[in-house]
């Protein structure tokens, strides 16, 4: 499967959606009654968090496919998904900290169960790459990584439940109006942001898959042209490699 085919269309779609999203966030959505202008962080922080979590779950699903079929391409998909979600996760934690500082004056608060749960999930997935790296046998590495991805993916909802139970408060006062619901204009801006962030994730995922695919093809081409000796053997690495035929 070629990953680069729809990349241009995806990138354009992402660009349009994200521009629309931020435009809506800043010019269309009303000012939050409680938090004022800093509530606008919500439109970048929460979509990133949701997409990152979705990415982790997608990584888990690809891992299930990998264990079922044994096809290493699913392992690569899982790896890239988790890798991307981790990067987004850093963004979530940093923007969350900025928001916390703006709202409550501290760079970190334990009152927000969603942010705390996200930290735990992030800490768990941060071990994914070191774990992969420390298993030398490639096939075993891929298999164990898939088991990890499935366990961690199943762990995400359980963890959120547990942390939420532990806390008295609910997550960020995104609700500006007294009736507790998100006003329609804010909802629209949020949904468009979410769509944009999801598109961004898919685009970046395809970019990375295409890049790894290209890399593997280049190796194969070099091997065909120069023989096996010309290709430096892949040393120990955490990243899965596509089989080069």
């Amino acid at each position: 499967m070629l990953y680069g085919t729809r990349l241009r269309a995806l990138s354009i779609a992402t660009l349009i959606t994200m521009t629309a999203a931020f435009g809506l966030a800043f010019f269309y959505a009303p000012m939050d009654a409680d938090q004022g202008f800093m509530q606008k962080i919500f439109y970048v922080h929460v979509p990133m968090a949701m997409v990152a979590l979705g990415g982790f779950v997608f990584g888990g699903i690809m891992a299930i496919q990998h264990l079922r079929t044994g096809d290493p391409k699913h392992d690569l998909r899982s790896y890239v998904a988790i890798h991307l979600s981790l990067i987004l996760g850093v963004g979530v934690l940093v923007t969350g900290a900025i928001w916390a500082k703006a709202s409550w004056g501290h760079w970190w608060v334990w009152d927000e169960p969603t942010l705390v749960s996200f930290l735990i999930v992030f800490l768990l997935y941060a071990t994914y790459q070191p774990m992969r790296f420390s298993i030398e046998d490639r096939e075993r590495q891929a298999r164990y990584a898939s088991v990890f991805a499935i366990v961690a993916g199943a762990f995400v909802p359980l963890n959120f439940l547990a942390v939420r139970l532990a806390q008295a408060y609910t997550h960020p006062r995104v609700f500006a109006t007294a009736d507790g619901g998100l006003p329609a204009k804010m909802q629209l801006a949020f949904l468009v942001s979410l769509a944009g962030m999801a598109l961004l994730y898919v685009t970046l995922w395809r970019y990375e898959m295409a890049s790894k695919h290209t890399s593997a093809q280049l190796r194969a081409l070099r091997r065909k042209l120069s023989g096996d000796d010309a290709v430096t053997p892949v040393g120990r690495t955490a990243a899965p490699s596509l089989p080069t035929t």
Binding site: I87, L88, G91, I98, W99, L204, S211, L225
Partner: protein
């Protein structure tokens, strides 16, 4: 000075702009870091492909030379 600033925050810029700007900047920075990494990978691919292209040309040159020599040998046999 403070009066001017107070005027500015209430009229022109809303408060907490710094924080909001920082948050969005973090997001953009992440995406741009990704672009930079992709760029360097792309550069590497370009280089490698050029190398492999040259390699393929040499091969073809060698093959063409071999093909030229064969009819001669066939002729001498």
């Amino acid at each position: 000075m403070t009066l001017v600033l107070a005027q500015a925050t209430t009229d022109a810029l809303p408060d907490n702009v710094g924080y909001v700007a920082a948050a969005y900047l973090v997001f953009f920075a992440l995406v741009l870091v990704y672009v930079v990494i992709m760029a360097s990978k792309l550069a590497r691919f370009e280089r490698e492909l050029a190398e492999l292209n040259d390699l393929a040309d040499e091969r073809r040159g060698g093959l063409a030379g071999a093909r030229e020599r064969e009819p001669e040998e066939a002729g001498t046999r």
